[in-house]
Symmetry: D2
Subunit: 315 residues, 4 copies
């Protein structure tokens, strides 16, 4: 993968360079990014206006929102045209020569090439039903989606109304564009996307922060189709049951699947009333979660007793 | 490991055979099991009484409770003697020639032989503090306990009062005896220990049972010191969000560490309002739990939305 | 309110009697119930067919589903006609002489007559927006809805697409029809609607069922506009943390707002390690919940430690 | 009740005044506070030392910890003497002329005077068992404890060992002393005790902070033996699902029972996909909790979907 371009440098590019960089984020629909450039950065505009526009685009999220607005305000026909431009997930990837490089990559990882005969039949049947009902192909922006996820989503969405499904498909298309944009554009030089990951452990048996608990953070990586987990960092919770600072931030905070491992058994063994023995019900508690947006705060806490726990996406 | 003896056959053994089979469940304290035999099964008793006693011992739990009662009703001196008979966890295993085979096995897996110098120092210091305070060695019945668990328990219990700690140590000793008894004695012929494992998934976002969700059950095994997980079974939840029958029961229901994997991402993708895309916050949710008692019912459910979940040991 | 008619007797009525009994469940649209009668119970049908049809309608839910199917399979025009037949929530109730008796009753309890000037303005503005966008009035089937609930729902739904909103409005219309049907029709003679309420308390601090806990069940009643709670029953949880049998079933199981009160403080005080003192964080825990469908099982449990609790609609 | 004395003024009192103010916090054991005065504030000490000591006592918690340390370091005999000085909860209050005014007040509110004959019998029997086992009376520091709480605690503690129970009784005695100290001493002039109450609502169905939700805060007051709730404040959650600042702090933050009421039904009605209708399962969610320590932060959040919720004491 080529290096990403910092946001401030991107905004200084000429139109051809700009389109070469991010013109392809919407499938075969360069007009969207082109319109954005022309309305916002074109040399035909007044220099002060251009400068003003550039200053407003403080991060990648703002840039994306501006671009996406042009799609939203476009006619239903143009939106439909965009949806129709997407490849059909069901047709064999090798046969689909009109697919862009980006979407080829995205489809492979969903594991569609390894369908059983029975699964392929279910899939084809649902996809045919979908195509008969809607004037555009089924679009799903889940990264590394399993075939089950694709089938499950297809099974659910085939029952939508046209308006609902058009709304949903545009949501997926925008999500794909956003992910492609993030693949190409970095934060402005000297800055980061701003997202970070925090943790907190509460001991609900004693009504106190769980201090002194060991926590490990792993990242899940797809190595040639095999899922592997790699230890990133180890922590010990402080007196407030928190980590001293974010677990991930700046460059380290990357989209992907992660896993906390909480050493709950060790923590609860310390209580003198503890009757820990045999095989504890809860020992090392794994908590697997996805980071999807590099501009957001993810607070992923644990509330635990020796016999129960819960977690949630906090903020 | 030699084959286990069914409970009914055990009760028919002569005193020497009986003691050979289970006399060693309390460390170097055969008198406890011996007393039990003499009070309950000795040929010197009336035949009708023996028969009656045998019939009352319907399962291994009843047998253990009867034996343990004799320890509880014994004098404080004899109890203290029993505690003192236990090996010192801190002394090198190889140097401890007076340790019985059973406790040698149990100590090895706690990974004490791989302490760093610093950890050994902390450990020795705490253990010395413990020995100065209490007239018996530190006893912990956690199977495969990590050194952290041992240290954590030691750190907590060193602050107990003598009465509290004697109570705790006897609890651990009884737990060890119970585990050793289960290693030797099977359920009566034609029966099982009676424990079983069940599951239930509730969709808290929609207030309904999560039906049609794929769940896998793994067992965690210690292969030459390396933890490995092995797939045991796959399930699909029924219309009530449950499995059709216990996930484990009878012979299959063995003490150990297990793991559910819930295919939450696939499940929630089916809802037509679902905005699933990118990297979902929750996808495959792992839930690692220990089964400790082969005579009990373990209900290990999941309550989940796309953004939160909780679990607990139910019944 | 007149007495309800048992389901079996309803099915024996003549067409005029049948329509007099339940013809009005869909606002000003007697044709739906009329169609049902003609297709299923009309004397012009073969006697064996009628008998067969009656036997299939084993409970009120089946009856409703059969009637509702006729609406679902009707043309979009007729569905739109039905939606348009509903009164406008915004117009003053006294001025709305064309409103049926049923909907008059339902509107009053939503407290719309007590809007402040500012609220009325917000309401009118949103309602005008709604009417300009959709060709039918805003319909909401919430019993005793507060003005905030109505405004909140209006605020959300005004942004829907036409298809989404038509779907939603039909859902509300069906819900109103279902509630009206339940007001008129009882279970078959000698039977009940089948719904029941159960409870379960888990002690998540100790990983055991919370046995011996006192639980009270209250019903919330609207007395001349004032909410009052009335004690229905007291329970003590059994050894499995459950009640011995359903808390409500049969005739007692009525739609409405209820409240469990769990005597958590008393329960946790019994543990010898308990440091209960001062003002406990949790003492008597109230849990207020609505029963909405007299044909369903409501399982409303509590999972609690002295410092945390959770609940959910189970099954 | 007479006005409280600010901490800084208390420390300037003469010994007789000081003892008159807080000498009675430990039942009939003025020597504890007297020792504190003599060691810390006595005019016989060097003026610079006194000044230094005063400066170290920055808040009531520090003051209490210093006093309590003297009790902890005293001989077991003196501790036992203190425990024995407490009145017997079982003897009729009117007959107990040797009870100090403070403990008389505390006993009345536990409702012991309204025991049924059967309850009195259980109570007396347990209390006799307790007195036969322990050389001091049963002590419980729960404010407004119901008779069930007292019985439950008595039932649990009667099984403790002497060491455990002496530890527990001293904990209760210290808690009583702490509560009495807070009744007499205010924060230093111009300051507060420092405790505050915060809230947070997470929408676990959508994985976002629940913004725009109405929350009310009530206080529960005991009016002539009748529990009444009084509305203190209303809030609307901000974009982060929090309140703008603490709900209670400074003078307002008083020990007692409180209740949040969360307008959950209104909140979830706004979602266009919401199928709200009939009687919602959750509408106004009550959450009753105790504030026990005026120097601490109480974070009492709600995690909720339309079908489930949980809460906990956070920090």
């Amino acid at each position: 993968m080529s290096a990403k371009i910092p946001l401030n440098r991107l905004l200084d590019l000429s139109q051809p360079e700009f389109l070469a960089a991010i013109g392809g984020i919407y499938e075969k629909s360069q007009w969207i990014v082109e319109s954005f450039y022309n309305f916002t950065l074109s040399p035909s505009l007044d220099a002060a206006v251009i400068q003003d526009n550039k200053e407003k685009i403080t991060n990648v999220r703002v840039l994306f929102n501006e671009i996406e607005l042009l799609l939203r305000n476009s006619s239903k026909d143009r939106q439909l045209q965009l949806l129709k431009s997407h490849p059909d997930l069901c047709l064999k990837i090798e046969a689909a020569t009109e697919i862009t490089e980006e979407s080829k990559h995205e489809q492979k990882s969903s594991g569609l090439s390894t369908l059983t005969a029975e699964e392929r039949e279910t899939f084809t049947s649902l996809n045919n039903e979908y195509k008969a009902k809607f004037p555009f192909p089924f679009i799903l922006a889940v990264r590394n989606a399993s075939k089950q996820t694709v089938l499950s989503a297809l099974r659910g969405r085939v029952h939508s109304t046209l308006e609902q499904e058009m709304d949903c498909a545009l949501f997926q298309v925008n999500k794909i564009a956003w992910m492609r944009l993030l693949d190409e554009v970095d934060a402005p030089e000297g800055k980061t996307h701003g997202g970070f990951l925090t943790c907190h452990v509460l001991d609900t048996a004693n009504g106190i922060p769980a201090s002194g608990m060991v926590i490990e953070l792993y990242v899940h990586e797809n190595m040639d189709g095999v899922q592997q987990s790699r230890l990133l960092k180890s922590f010990v919770t402080n007196s407030d049951g928190r980590l001293d600072g974010p677990a991930l931030k700046g460059e380290e905070f990357k989209v992907g699947m992660y896993e906390w491992r909480f050493y709950l058994g060790d923590y609860f063994a310390q209580f003198s009333g503890s009757r820990i023995s045999g095989t504890p019900f809860l020992d090392v508690v794994p908590l697997k979660f996805g980071l999807d947006d590099p501009t957001e705060h993810y607070h992923v806490p644990l509330l635990a007793s020796p016999w129960s726990y819960s977690t949630y996406r906090g903020s």
